[in-house]
Amino acid sequence: MRVEYINPFVESAMSVLKSTVSENVKRGTPKLSTSINNIQGVAIIVGLAGQVSGRVVLDMSEETALNVASSMNGERLDSLDELVSATLTELGNMITGNAITKLHELGFKFDLTPPALFVGDNLRLTDNKIEALVVPLELEEGNLCINVAIKENIYK
């Protein structure tokens, strides 16, 4: 993945989480991974298109998801209902949208697909033809992972 893409996504995730969820967000070391990633329980997926193809996955446990949604709404939410789903997909949208705005400023033209939310135990994400950047993020509400995989469409 091009170096230029990394910072917009990481920075956007940090700033969105800071402003909407909690002040204390710690960033772990970015890693590269391929193929199979175990999903902790809840995954928000936003597709990328345009001069690249790829996707952004926000991955967290159900507990963290509820905590994050509670913080964002300013009230305690205890089940993965409509409101929680809407809140989480919006979080995915904000992070990705923010990143893409930054990338536009740098001259990269990306489009987004509407976010999708996946909930379940033993979820696995498999895409064997793409290398993903995985950045762990630590919040008071729990840990979440931002997983970004981008492939150039030009330059084949």
Binding site: M1, R2, V3, E4, I6, P30, L32, T34, N128, K129, I130, E131, L133, K151, E152, Y155, K156
Partner: protein
Amino acid sequence: MSEIKNMDFKYLMQNQQNINSSLSIQEQEKKQVIEYDSKIVSFRIGNQYYGIDIMMVKEILCEKRFTPIPNALEFVRGVFNLRGEIIPIIDLAKLFHLNVNYDTIPEEGESVIILKVENLLIGVIVEEIMQVFPIQKEKIQPPSSLLGSINEEYISGIIDIEKRLYVILDTEAIFGDKEKAKKEILPQESDLAEEFFTYFTNQVEEFAGIHIHNANKGKFRELYSSYVRENNIKDMPKLTKDDAGQILKNFYSVNTDSFWNQKQADSFTNVVTPLLNKIDNKKIKGMNVGCGNGYETFSLYFILRNICPDVQLIATDNNLGAISNASGIEVIDKEIPAWLEINKNFIKTGGNQYKIKKDINDQIYFEFHDAKNLSTDERKFHIIVARDLSLFMKESEYNQFLKDVAEHLVPNGILIVGDSEVVSSESFIRIDEQDFSVFIKK
């Protein structure tokens, strides 16, 4: 019936021979008083008789318990503690591939002859020890190549004593043979040296966080010998972190951390231009794997751009810090060799600091990528430069990487590895070049 007759005939023949030979000995004995000048210890394995020069024999004993050595060669029965000295025990029958079965081990133990060969004690197991004979050296007849089971070179001759033939073994030839002994029988100097070398490489691996294996071991062997020589080390080498760092530094290809010099640029151009033109003379697609802080990438980019104006170059590294710095590399003027045309390609950022011009920098895609995941990439390249990557991968990972490289190169595509790296993949042919290790995909 005919078989019995045959046997009878054979027996008669042998008998006649024996009679003849004993007659001849008797005749000789009549002529003179025999002067014996040597003695042999005789023993039996199967139904054959052998002798060993008594000067080579330290002692003879019976022993049952030998400590087996795991992974030892078939003929090494184990080791034995002889009054505090550990000696290897060798089964002579197995060593010589004699078809003998020791089904029953005698209660008092097996017969062992302890030999002293060049300050080395070795025990050999034989089936039965007979007696000591005085012999005349001149009576030993040279071995015949037809003797079969025991290799001729290990036999000093054959002697006839009291109507029986004894094969005299040349223990020095068997056990004194340094190469053979080192390789097969005993841990001697060379094994020890190898052990020291392994110890050395383990420390370098540990301190420097790298992997040493067949793709780069050769160079480390050289570096080890010069390290040992310079520091006058006779036993187990003990390295410091700095030593390891210095050794690793000497491994790296020329100008890993600076722009390539004029000579390198010239020889690169000379060897690569015709190869690239053969593939595609309008466009060059290149990949620089493990680009580190970018010196290599820009050196490569400027050379390729001189060969052909349309260059697409991707530079990757799995070190996020390094690759972030590589894109937008900043250097001081002294670092820039003349062939890189400082005024054309760089802009001054203050003092003696220079930066690659942005439009040039934007031509290169710097990617955060782990070479181990190369298979996820779908792009094809004309040239892949991956110098010294073997250091950062285990042997299996590196071999897989080479396979992936072959997969990602177009036919006749070029691979360039580190100066001291060996590519043992069948997919590549090496091109004769001094300054770079250049390979072509078959």
